[in-house]
């Protein structure tokens, strides 16, 4: 680089580091709101969050930023690959942000914060109409955002881009249709197998403190560093990468051991990704992971491809039995393994089994796509939700707390987020298959409780790169081809056909 370009680049990275710090502060405010904040803090917190979002936006869009970016992009051949990727990443954020008026950003942050609080109350009260006006407000603001960003084919594209850079609604709809077209008859075949799995071993009640202790044991075995993170409880499980050295998991426990256990493993999968980003990318644009389809692949790989596998339970079941001798001492491994892999249509997405899970996602993707396009109104949403559940899963939620009010996403304005869950399932199947090709005797190492070779493979092939590659390129580098449905479908069949005697 020329001395002028070097100086420009240094200034740009300094500005980017301050933006990363502001994001960290915003992440902490959000984490705290969901886990620790007292009830009456909500109004004050909404204002603090709005102000921080405003400051962030103001600093991201300041003229010095645009000038430095323009100068460096015009001078591209002099930059090394990583520097070019840093600049393109920041350019992506900058151009998106300059399209949004600061006032819209502030209104959105404030409305989100309030809507999230009302959503929690409405869910507890099973009262959709209480939440409806806030959802309308959020949708109207999300459309304003999409119009400001601009799009070619579909207003939803502009929102999807936020969570899956480069993805288009039409393509995503095709992949999700393939998944749905496979799953709906597959689920029907499972139902028709009439195989009854005994759920008694997992329904509990299991003592929550002991659940937490066992969960922590698994999280440590996965290689999650609890000196650089923590585990708390919240209404809705999540993972927050606040800054390097501080990655936080939130989970929840119910009597049914599957809820807390697989929720914890899921969030720890996200947490490993955050902890695995190369230290040199800390406080840089590439240090912040943007593709949720990749992020979700890490959580679902650990939750499903590992946590629901027989090798994993060969390693960990003795310790679980020792933790809960009362209910589990006399339950054989095979019985327990069948119970955690029980396939059964149910209402709550985050408690769903692996087979029905992606049908929950398809419902949400289809509905939010229609909401954003104005083809579905908020007042008609509960009915549409229930109709879609009847069609795909064969069940109808009795109350909105286990139906349309169950997820935090819409109250938080996260439209375009849901389809990335299914992209995550597909990527998880691909990454796991690739890791199994690369790591000698992967399954027998997992059987011995040694999860570290898999974690190291993921760090090497996925985590350490941060946001260096677009999702498609990252997946292709690690697995040999871009994201497809076929390895996921093959994995589903290989696991569930024998369990349900379908072959």
């Amino acid at each position: 680089m020329s001395p002028a370009a070097t100086e420009n680049y240094r200034k740009l990275m300094q500005m980017a580091a301050e933006l990363a710090d502001l994001s960290s502060a915003e992440a902490l405010l959000g984490w705290d709101q969901e886990t620790k904040m007292p009830r009456k803090g909500i109004e004050g917190r909404a204002q603090v969050s709005a102000t921080l979002a405003g400051v962030h936006h103001e600093r991201l869009t300041r003229p010095e930023m645009g000038e430095a970016l323009a100068a460096l992009r015009g001078n591209g051949t002099a930059l090394d690959d990583e520097a070019r990727a840093q600049i393109e990443d920041l350019w992506w954020s900058y151009t998106r942000a300059t399209k949004l008026p600061g006032d819209l950003v502030r209104r959105l942050a404030e409305t989100r914060s309030r809507a999230t609080a009302v959503w929690a109350e409405a869910r507890a009260a099973k009262d959709f109409p209480r939440f409806a006006p806030h959802l309308k407000e959020i949708i109207a603001l999300s459309r304003e955002v999409a119009e400001a960003y601009g799009y070619e084919a579909d207003v939803y594209d502009a929102l999807l881009e936020e969570y899956e850079p480069g993805a288009r609604t039409a393509d995503t709809a095709v992949v999700l249709s393939e998944v749905k077209d496979f799953l709906v008859p597959f689920l029907r075949a499972i139902a028709e197998s009439r195989k009854e799995i005994d759920l008694t071993p997992v329904l509990g009640p299991f003592d929550r403190a002991k659940q937490a202790a066992f969960g922590e044991q698994v999280v440590r075995a996965m290689g999650f560093d609890l000196d650089a993170g923590r585990i708390d409880t919240a209404n809705h499980p999540f993972c927050s990468g606040i800054h390097p050295g501080d990655v936080r998991l939130a989970t929840r426990y119910k009597d049914d051991i599957r809820v807390g256990l697989f929720g914890t493993i899921h969030e720890a999968g996200h947490g490993l990704y955050e902890q695995g980003v190369a230290a040199a990318l800390g406080r840089t644009p590439l240090g912040s992971i943007r593709s949720l389809g990749i992020h979700e692949s890490q959580s679902r790989l650990w939750e499903n491809n590992v946590g629901l596998s027989l090798p994993f339970w060969k390693a960990f079941y003795p310790s679980l039995q020792a933790t809960f001798p009362g209910p589990l001492a006399d339950v054989p491994l095979d019985t327990f393994f069948a119970a955690v892999n029980d396939v059964r249509p149910s209402f709550i997405r985050i408690e769903a089994d692996e087979v029905t899970y992606n049908l929950h996602v398809v419902v949400r993707f289809e509905l939010e796509h229609e909401l954003i396009n104005g083809r579905l109104g908020v007042d008609d949403l509960p009915e549409a939700w229930n109709a879609r559940y009847a069609e795909y899963l064969g069940i109808t939620p009795p109350t909105p707390d286990v139906g349309v009010l169950q997820d935090i996403h819409w109250s938080s304005g996260l439209f375009g987020y849901f389809p990335t869950y299914t992209l995550g399932s597909l990527n998880a199947a691909q990454f796991y298959a690739a890791a199994a090709r690369d790591i000698p005797s992967l399954e027998s190492r997992i059987e011995r409780g040694d999860l570290i070779p898999l974690k190291d493979w993921l760090v090497e092939n996925v985590h350490r790169w941060g946001n260096r590659f677009k999702p498609e390129e990252l997946v292709e580098r690690a697995t040999g081809h871009p994201t497809r449905a076929d390895e996921f479908i093959a994995y589903m069949k290989a696991k569930y056909e024998p369990l349900y005697g379908l072959r």
Copy 2:
């Protein structure tokens, strides 16, 4: 106000509200660092805190702020009293901040954050030399700050002003000398009384979860709203008023019940002050309390004048006995009351009794005054500390963790803070005496466990005003005269002379 002045005032208050929000975010970062943050988060957190401090400073000192303030101050007669007080308060912050270069602010925040972490390690390792280079750095930066602020007589004045607006070192030194001149012989007389108080009832061990439950019962009785606050544990007790609706107490528990119990009551006294500021002052300059001599009066009034009084224990001792029937069922009230009021020179300030407490403060005030003036070097500090303890309290700390390393203040750069603790004791005695004059049968209401009339008196006379009045004016309005040592001395004598048979 003229339309132009009204518009200027509106803009100013909007800028001030954003500054209040930034302060809230900084407060949350600080609270989290002391209570929840994982160990390896420290480096990242230091950068986030430094960036937020930089943004805060930049926005406080921007030209629009100076212009609006100058225009409104030049137009003073058109403003009502409260608006004038708002403007003067913001002017105080603005002028102090404009004197500090942004770079100094950033270096200070970063150094503080790191030094605090090293202090915690050094204290655990009883290793003063590990902390010494960080303390030197903090002192050098504090002197830079004082020089930038400017002062007339004493470099320490510029630092004291931060915590006790309007106070001067020379005056403070006189009041603290009066206190010391009373306490040193008073403590000697107590020692010579040879009265041996039995500490067995308070030394425990007491179960920590039950201590927390009893503490919460007392905090609720004081009128602290736990829907607008919370209680956590930390290495060093503190109270953080994050924003209206969110006031957090941090305490710690030891086997000795006095540590957690009176620490909790103390912090709840601070917390009541934060919760009691008039809602209309939220997000305004006057909503943030600046005088620590007043803040500390609230904590010490509840901790000592109430929490260590016989009427209080007539109300709460039965419940404490019910919580800990094993150790306390057979201990009469008088025996317990004497034990919590035991006077005994000891090493740790925050565990000290009421009589020796202010001698701990005098040691720190004298030493930090000399450190800042360069009359004492950091390498000589441990020896100077121990010599002063020998002279005033008659004891010598065996290791630095219970000596010079015990307090978080210096690692956090809080020079000028310590003397406000003693101003707090003096103000507490004055406020309590005034409340006792105003509230019919105050003592018999406390005996019945009804603490709310006292809390309401404090809200009315102290809390609701926020930073509306300078400390001296506030004290005079509430008690009839400014802060003096005599009511504190009278209170000490009235309580401890009979306990130790000195009359």
